[in-house]
Symmetry: C5
Subunit: 259 residues, 5 copies
C-alpha cells in the first residue's frame, strides 16, 4: 500500500488543527453538524443525479484503488518482450505458445495479444483490437476519475449554499447580538468543510487516480507496440529501441542487454 | 425508470432543509418570490436568446430523458454480432436477410447497416455513412446537454444579480434598521436559489445526459465495428476480440463463447 | 424574424424590474449614468483594442444576424441531391449543367461545386477546395462570435471596476453617514450593469451566433458530402444513406423516397 | 498605424475618470503609489520567473506590434498566384525564375517556395518544409501572446495581494477611526489597478496579437496552397478556386478574373 | 545559471514589502506562523495525495531545473546536420560511423538515431522509435510541470481555508473588541500567503518549466526531421530548408551556408 494518500490527507488535517490551536481557537468549535449535513447530503445528491447511485456507491472503492501504489512494470515488460523477440527469432513464433501461460501476474492483454500473434492474425486487426481496448478502457476509467472531480466541484458550492443558509438564519435573529459572533462563525464552517473536503480529499484523489490511469494506458501502449513489433519480426535490438521510449531515463539502464 | 435522479435531487433538497432547521431557521423564510422571479425569468430569457424558444421548451423532455436509466446493451450486441458472424460463415451473408426484421428493440442503425452489408456495399461507404451518422448524432445531442449546462451557468449569475438588486433596495432604506436583517436575508435568497438550482438541478442533469450520450455513442461505435468486421468476413473469434474492448471487465464473461 | 431573441432579452429585463418592484425598490434608483459610462466606455475600449474599431462597429450587424432564425435546409438539400443523383444516373452528369442556374436561393457553394463536378474536376481537388472554404468560413465567423464572447467577459470586470471606483468615492465621504446607503447602492449599480449586460445581452447573443454557425457548417459539410458522392457516381440510395446522417430523426421521414 | 489600440485604451481610461468625476470623486485620490509598486513589481517579477527577463523586456515591442494594422494581403496574394499560374502554363515553370526577385514586399516564404518549385523539388518535401515553417512560426509567436495573457492573469491577483496588504495595515490602526475610510479606499486602489491594467491593457493587447497571428498563419497557408497547386500544374481556374476559400466574401469580387 | 528566476521572485517580494512600508505597515505583522503552517501543510498534503510523496520531494529539483537557462541549440544542431548531410553525400552514410562518438554534449538521441540510420534501419521504424520517445518524454515532463501547477492551485484555496479558520476564531472572541482588528488582520495573512506563494513561486515556476519543455521537444523534433532527411538522402540544401523552420528569424543568418 502506498502511504502517500493517508499521510497526505492526515498531515493536511493535522496542520489545519495545529494552526487553529496556534490562533487560540477551540477545535470543538469546528464541529458543525448542520454544515456536515449540507455538504455531504448536497454533494451526494448532486453526484447521484449526475452519475447514478451505483457509481456514487463505488466511490469508497475508488479511494482504496487510489491508495494502491502506481505500478511501474515498464522494465519488466521490456525485458519480457526482448525475451519473446529473441525466442521467436531462434525458435519461431510458434515456440511462444508454451510461454503464454507463464505470465499470470501481468496485464491479461499480453496473453490475449500473444495468442493473436501466434495465430498469425493480421497486424491491422491486432492494432484495431488493441486500440479499441485501450481507448474504451481509458474512457471507462476516466468516468471514475470524473466522479471524484465533480465531487470536488460540488463540495465548495454546497459550502457556499450552507454559509448563505447560515447567514440568512443569523440575519433573522439580529436582535440577539450576543450570539451573533458565534452564529456567523458557525455559518462559515460550511465554507470550511466545502473547500476543505474538495481540496484535501476529492480533488487530490482524482489527481491520484488520473496519474494511475495514465500509467496504465502507457503500459498498455507499450504492450501493443511490443506485440506489433514481434509480429512484424523486428530484430530484438529494434524492438528494444522502440520500447525504451516508454521508460524513464533511470529505468533504461536496468533493462537487460540484447544478445 | 432510474430512481437516482429523483432520489438525488430529493435528498439534496431535504438535507438543506434539515440543516436549516438544525440552525434554528424557519423554512418559511427561504421562500423568496422576487428571487424566484429573477432566477427563473432571467435564466429563461438568457436561454431563449441563446438557443431559441423551441429548445428551451424542450427542457422538460430533457429531464424525463435524464430520468431513464442509461442503457447497457453491450453484452446483447456482442452476442448478436457473434450470431450474425457465425451464421454468415455457415450460410453466407445473404442468409442474414431474414434476420434484419428480428431486432426491432435494438438501435435502427443495425438494420440499416445490415442491409448495406448484405447489398455488398463497399466497406468505405459503410464507414462513411456511419461516421457521419454518429458524428452528427453526437453533435445534435450535445446541443441538448449544452442547454442544461448553460442554464447551470446563467442561474448563479442571475442569483448575484438578484442579491445585488436586493442590497440596492436595502441600502435605500437604511433608516429602518429594525427591518435591515430581514431585508439582507431576503437579498441572499437569490444567491441561494441561483447556486442551488444550478448545482442540484441543472449541472447534475447535464452530467447525466452527457453520460447517457457517451454510452449511446460507444454503442453505435460497437455496431459500426461489428458491421465492418462482418463485411470483411472476419472469423467470429476475431470479431468477438474486436468487440470485447467495448465491454467492462465484469461484462465480458457474460458474452457467450464462440464455437 | 426569430422572436426568441427579443422575447428572451425582454422577459429577462422585465422580470428583473418586477422583482425589484416586489422588494419595494424604486426602479428610478436603478438608473446609474456613471455606471453606464464605465461599463459601455470600458467594454468598448477593451474591444476596440482587441479587435480593432471596424469589428466593434459591426456588432449591431451581429445582433441583427442573431435575430434571424437559424436555417434548417437539411431536408431540401437532401431532396436536391437525390434529384441530382437520379438525373445524373439517367442522363449523365452533363445533364446537370442546365440545373446549376436553378438554385439561387441555396448556398452558392452548390453552384460552384456542381460546375466543378460537371467539369470532371478530380475528387481530391474538390475536397481540398471545399475543405479550405469550410474551414476558413468557420474561422472567420468564429471571429464575430468572439467579439460578443469577449464583450461578455469584459463587461463584468468593468462592473467590478465601477463598483470599486464607487466605493473609493464613498469611503472618502464617510463623514456624511446619511448619504452612505444611497452611495453604496449607487456603487453596486455598476456590478449590476456589468453582470446583467454580459448575461442577458452579450453571452446569449454569442451562444445564438455560435449555434447558427454550427448549423451553417453542417449544411456546407452536407453539400460537400453530396457533391463527392455525386462525383463518385454513387447510386442514389447510397447517396441518400450518406446524407441522412445530417438530418434529425424527425426530419428523415420528410425526405422523398428514392426510386 | 492602427489608431484602434490608442483610441481604445484612451477611451476606456477617460470613461473611468469621467464616471468617477460624475460620482463626485476626486481623481487625485486614484493615485496610489504603493498599489502601483505592488502591481507593477509583482507582475514584472512573476513574468520574469515565467518567461525570463529577455522576453519581459520585449513587451514594449509587442505593444508597438499590436499597434500596427492587421495586414490583409489576401487579394494581392491570390492575384499573384493566378499570374504565376498563367505564366507557368504559357511559358513553363522555369519562366518564373526572373519573377522571384520582384516580390520583396511580400512574405519571404513566397520567394523561398517559388525557388523550390522551380528547382523541381518534390511536392511532399515542399509541404513538409512549409508545415514545419508555419507550425514553428505559430508556436513562437504564441509565446509572445502568452506573455501578455499571463500579465493579464497575474495583474488582478497582485491587485488582491495589494488590497489584502492594505487591509492588514488598516486593521492594525483601527484606533484612528477618522482615517479609516481613506485607508480602506487606498487599499482598494490596488484592486482597481490590477483589474484595470489587465482588462484595458494586457488582455486586449493579447487579443490583438492573437488576431494578427491568426491572419499571418492564414496568409502563410494560402501561400503553401498556392505553391502546391502551382507545382501540381493545376490549371489557373482550379488554383483560383482553391485560394478563394481564404478570402472573405467581399474580397472575392476584387480578385482579377482568369483568362 | 539564469538569474531571471531569482531576480523575478526577489523583486516581487521586495516590491510587496516596500509597498507595505509605504502604507505605514510594520513588516513584522506580515509574519504569520499559523498561516504558514496551514498553507505549507495543506498544500504539501494535497500534493502528496495527488502525486505521491516521491514526486513532491522532487520539487526542489524542479526549482533548480527552472533556474537553468532554457537551451537554444538550434543553430548548432542545424550546422551539425548540414555537416552530416554533406559528409554522407561525399563519403557515404557509413562514413558517419566515426562521428557518432564526437557529440557527447548533445542530446543522446542524435547518437542513437545516427546509429539507426547507419545500420540502414527503415525510415518508418526510426520515425516510430522517435515519436514514442518524444511523446513519452513530453508526457513524463508534463508530470513535473503539473506538480507545480497544482501547487499553484491548492495554495490559494488553503489560504482561504486559513482565513476562514482565522475568522471563526475571531468571531468567537467578539467580546474583546480591542483585539478585533489585529485578529482579523492575522486571518488575512493566510490569504496573502496563499495567493502570494501561488503567483510568485509556483505558477511562474510552472510556466518556466513548461517553456523549457517546449524548447526541448522542438529540439528533439528538429533532430528527428534531420535524421529522416539524412536517411532519405535529401541533398544538403533541402535538409537545410527543412530544418530552418525550427529557428527564429534572427538565428537563421547564423547558420553556415551550404556548399
Amino acid at each position: 500500500m502506498d502511504i502517500s494518500l493517508i499521510l497526505g490527507m492526515g498531515s493536511a488535517f493535522v496542520c489545519l488543527i495545529i494552526a487553529f490551536l496556534m490562533e487560540g481557537g477551540n477545535p470543538i468549535k469546528l464541529i458543525g453538524p448542520s454544515a456536515f449535513v449540507i455538504i455531504v447530503g448536497g454533494t451526494f445528491g448532486a453526484l447521484a443525479v449526475s452519475f447514478g447511485l451505483a457509481k456514487v456507491l463505488k466511490m469508497p472503492g475508488g479511494f482504496i484503488k487510489a491508495m494502491k501504489p502506481t505500478p511501474h512494470n515498464g522494465v519488466k515488460l521490456v525485458d519480457l518482450f526482448i525475451y519473446y523477440s529473441e525466442k521467436a527469432r531462434k525458435e519461431g513464433l510458434l515456440s511462444l505458445e508454451g510461454d503464454t501461460e507463464a505470465d499470470a501476474s501481468f496485464d491479461p492483454l499480453i496473453k490475449k495479444g500473444l495468442s493473436l500473434v501466434i495465430d498469425g492474425t493480421d497486424a491491422n486487426a491486432i492494432k484495431e483490437i488493441f486500440e479499441i481496448e485501450i481507448m474504451e478502457f481509458e474512457e471507462r476509467e476516466k468516468g471514475t476519475v470524473m466522479v471524484f472531480e465533480q465531487a470536488g466541484g460540488f463540495c465548495p458550492t454546497m459550502g457556499i449554499v450552507g454559509t448563505v443558509l447560515g447567514l440568512i438564519s443569523v440575519l433573522s435573529h439580529l436582535n440577539e447580538p450576543e450570539r451573533l459572533g458565534e452564529s456567523i462563525a458557525a455559518a462559515f464552517i460550511a465554507t470550511l468543510y466545502g473547500i476543505g473536503f474538495a481540496n484535501i480529499i476529492f480533488l487530490p484523489t482524482a489527481n491520484k487516480l488520473k496519474g494511475q490511469l495514465k500509467e496504465h494506458v502507457a503500459e498498455k501502449n507499450l504492450i501493443l507496440t511490443g506485440l506489433i513489433s514481434l509480429q512484424a519480426g523486428d530484430n530484438p535490438r529494434i524492438l528494444k529501441d522502440k520500447l525504451m521510449g516508454f521508460l524513464e531515463e533511470h529505468e533504461r539502464e536496468k533493462v537487460r542487454s540484447v544478445d
